[in-house]
Amino acid sequence: MSAPVTQPRYPTRRNAELVLLVFAVLIVVAAEAAVEATRDGHFSSHLITYAAVPIGVGLVAHLVIRRVAPYADPLLLPIAVLLNGLGLVMIHRLDLGLKQQADQNGGTFSAAAPTQVLWTAIGVALFVGLIVLVRDHRILQRYAYTLALVGLVFLLLPTILPARFAEVNGARIWIRLAGFSIQPGEFAKILLTIFGAAYLVAKRDVLSLAGRRLGFSLGRRFIGFDLPRGRDFGPVLAAWLICIAVLVRGHDLGTSLLFFGLFIVLLYVTTERVSWVVIGVLLFAVGAYVSYKLFGTVQTRVGVWLHVFDAVHDQDGYQLRQSLFGLGTGGVFGTGLGAGHPELVPLPATDFIISSFGEETGLFGAVAILMLYVLFVARGLATALSVRDAFGKLFATGLSFLVALQLFVVIAGVTRLLPETGLTTPFLSYGGSSLLANWLLLALLLRVSDAARRPATAPPARPAGEKVGVPG
């Protein structure tokens, strides 16, 4: 070790990221140009704005990554910039449609796209802050319980607050203060992922212990699975009860499904025991059944899902029906950006933005967007596979799974594969909290991927003097 030989150069892939960012910008600008050409017949100065956002966002994030996370995965940022940019273009396009609608009906209208630009800027600022601040993801383990407490408060606060502070469109998932509203659940999902990963890594040996065996022996093979020990059920039940509380008080099917799914997956990855998944699915089924029996909102959503074209659901099924009409009208190739009528779907920019894409860019466009998410999740899971520490593995799996499950629940809802639950599409949908939370999620995922791809000999990129938590 006295005379270090010249180290082999490990590719950082930062230039690949830059090239991909250029592609992302080009696609966003082309989309905005298509919208303007169709709606107005000419290009406007808006085009510069919609080019500037992905360029600015991509450049800032890219330069920061070059500096503080040089080995980070090169695909994640371009995908996020592309989705954010496309979402912005669609929100702007929906603004145009909604403005026309409001002009004709004499209604009021306020543009959503400028707000989304602002949220994007704040999102990138938070991204930079977080990735600069957290130089090693393992530090997060130290604050697991503190973060869990904050996460729980975030999650449960809206359900405790009076409705006038917490309720929007029937769902109690907001905190509204001084004309400003945030959905704390979006941030809670990241905080609780950190906690879940840290907690399970610490307890993994205990949780893997087998309790009773359930099944039968066939010759020398055992068919069935080992039940965990009774005392280990505690955290699972706690997570379940919290999710039920969110569901009961907040009328928020999506968030509770997301959290419970996340917890079960983390548990499964830690212990590699199928029994946790089976127990989780059973618990979720019981929770879902009971809430179906008890709550009108759940019954309505299931009723709409099953009988959306029936006259009974003429009113409450309107949104889903319009979404399906939009998707059907779009067909394989779509009507073309700006040439459809996605504004006919109520609240098209949040939950139903994917049906706006389905209508105007067709099956091709919708599947292309789906593939972007597949790539994003695949890169996240690849990070989980290659990172060396157990916390990192669990954390990256959790974050990737969050994106994947959220995407699944939303798209399944708007395409009538499952009852509609009311979640946003990551990066694409209009909504401050969702966008900020997803940029933070991206920062953390990039941080883990930097650790995963960093050569073992390279020094971690952190300021001198800072202590690092002991892994495991």
Binding site: Y268, L324, T329, L344, K393, I411, T415
Partner: protein, 520 residues
């Protein structure tokens, strides 16, 4: 851990594959069904996004698309709504389309293959797709006279019925009115409440709804006007205008016996109101035709012609055609009745004066008069003169086509004299149709008073329909043929009432047309 992470990845792939399959299902498999769902406004918004072509009558738009500020960008308006409703139809986003709006939708919307070139040029120049326009054959003067004289009688009471006028030389439809009419602008509104209220008030499920096109799609018993066809068959069969035919006061077709009917005996045919015809013995064909003697025609059909010849002649005039007439609005096919009506003497006798199961549309009535007026040549009726592309090039101009020769010209001239006698002879029933103040004009026609066969709730027979079919010649040239039907416009048992109610309307239409088109 990596093993279970891989399994999670596989599970996620399954979920995303489910999304992919479901998107395919919704957008491709179910796509067209969702697109065409009546609650999907998207197709409608696209349809209304480009202006629809005009429907013109002699250069004036009777249906026109007006730019609006609401989300359906163009509103369909009908400046003289009720006057042309039977032809124009309506254009409603709830109840679909009718009339020319439906029949010429391809050209008006611009979706027709004939307008492919125009669509391509609109696409290349970045213009919205535009529809072509349609020029109708209608004549303003004839249409207005028909409408004004039909909808109200001279005491101001509303009347239901229809008027159709044809140009005998070409078959061009000069007037088509159905009463009561409706305002298509209200049904073509962009306000769904207005549309629904209007629709309900029009009683769409009722047989007497204003939406029923009485001119083209409603069939009525023709009554004595059908004697024109029986006369044509008789002339072909060797009977002349001056042949004396038996004209008893009562005729028993089943037995061939003659004599008084003694009240209302269903087995006995008598004349209207039990009147005698030329003394109750014999009468010439001309006399029987002019006075509209039922017994003469019943005996002529049963004793001499038989059902076959009458049915064949009627077929030449357009009855019972195998393909329904399209003008391009579809026309109900008129019929002489069933096989039994033609083979059983009791039925055949009543068929001969247009009762039993004979039924015809007012357009068919006008076709009869038109064929007689034009030397026995029946022209195919048509309503669309030209289809014009947005760049004003003519896409299609209708060439008149002959449907049949119903009668040789020399025999036809006899039938013309007989029809003119209806209007001029002392015994004629059509005097009110006579035009005296335009020189060189001769009017021929035939009246009809057709029993509906229905009884009113009070047990009395429903008032019969009043018919007049006729034509006007000017200096030997057939100028216009008209059929007028007034529902329940006659009085039971009085043949002259049909002529009294319907003939003045026909006269007004013919006179208005002749004054608007003087000379030859």
């Amino acid at each position: 851990m990596n093993r279970s992470i891989r399994k999670v990845a596989v599970a996620l792939v399954v979920l995303l594959a489910a999304l992919f399959v479901n998107l395919n299902f919704v957008q491709v498999v179910k796509g067209s069904e969702l697109r065409d769902d009546s609650r999907n406004r998207r197709v409608l918004l696209n349809e209304y996004a480009s202006p629809r072509g005009d429907v013109n009558v002699q250069g004036t738009a009777i249906a026109h698309s007006k730019a609006t500020s609401d989300d359906l960008k163009y509103l369909r308006v009908y400046p003289q709504g009720r006057l042309y409703a039977a032809v124009s139809g309506y254009y409603s986003f709830i109840y679909g389309t009718s009339g020319i709006e439906q029949a010429e939708d391809g050209v008006l919307s611009g979706n027709s293959d004939k307008l492919f070139g125009s669509r391509v040029s609109d696409l290349l120049t970045g213009r919205n797709q535009r529809g072509g326009s349609v020029e109708l054959t209608l004549d303003k003067a004839a249409q207005q006279a028909a409408y004004a004289n039909l909808v109200k009688d001279n005491r101001g009471n509303a009347r239901a019925g229809a008027v159709v006028a044809l140009d005998p030389a070409t078959g061009a439809i000069l007037a088509a009115v159905s009463s009561p009419s409706f305002d298509p602008s209200l049904l073509s509104s962009h306000n769904s409440r207005t549309i629904q209220r209007t629709w309900t008030s029009l009683r769409p499920d009722s047989a007497t709804s204003p939406l029923v096109n009485r001119a083209l799609q409603q069939r009525y018993p023709p009554g004595s006007t059908f004697k024109t066809i029986v006369s044509a068959a008789a002339l072909k069969d060797g009977v002349t205008a001056e042949t004396n035919l038996i004209s008893p006061n009562g005729y028993f077709p089943e037995t061939g016996a003659t004599g008084p009917c003694n009240g209302t005996n269903p087995a006995c045919v008598q004349n209207f109101g039990g009147e005698s015809c030329h003394g109750g013995k014999t009468a010439t064909l001309t006399y029987a035709f002019a006075k509209s003697c039922n017994t003469t025609f019943a005996a002529l059909a049963v004793e001499k012609l038989g059902g076959r010849k009458i049915a064949d002649e009627a077929k030449l005039f357009g009855f019972d055609s195998t393909t329904a007439l399209q003008v391009p609005l579809s026309v109900a096919t008129s019929t002489v009745g069933t096989r039994a009506d033609l083979s059983r003497n009791g039925f055949l006798a009543r068929t001969a004066f247009g009762q039993q199961d004979v039924s015809m549309t007012p357009l068919q009535g006008a076709m009869i008069a038109s064929a007689v007026a034009d030397d026995g040549i029946l022209m195919q009726p048509y309503l669309v003169d030209k289809e014009v592309a947005p760049n004003l090039s003519v896409l299609n101009k209708t060439e008149p086509t002959q449907l049949s020769q119903v009668l040789d010209p020399d025999l036809d001239h006899n039938l013309q004299s007989m029809m003119e006698a209806v209007v001029t002879a002392p015994e004629g029933t059509g005097h009110p149709a006579r035009i005296t103040d335009i020189p060189g004009v001769a009017v021929g026609g035939k009246t009809g008073t057709a029993d509906t066969g229905r009884t009113l709730p009070n047990g009395r027979a429903e008032a019969p329909h009043a018919w007049f079919i006729g034509y006007a010649m000017q200096n030997g040239v057939a100028k216009i043929a008209v059929a007028v039907l007034i529902e329940h416009g006659g009085v039971q048992g009085n043949e002259t009432t049909g002529g009294e109610a319907a003939a003045p309307v026909a006269k007004a239409v013919m006179e208005a047309y002749l004054r608007a088109h003087p000379g030859n």
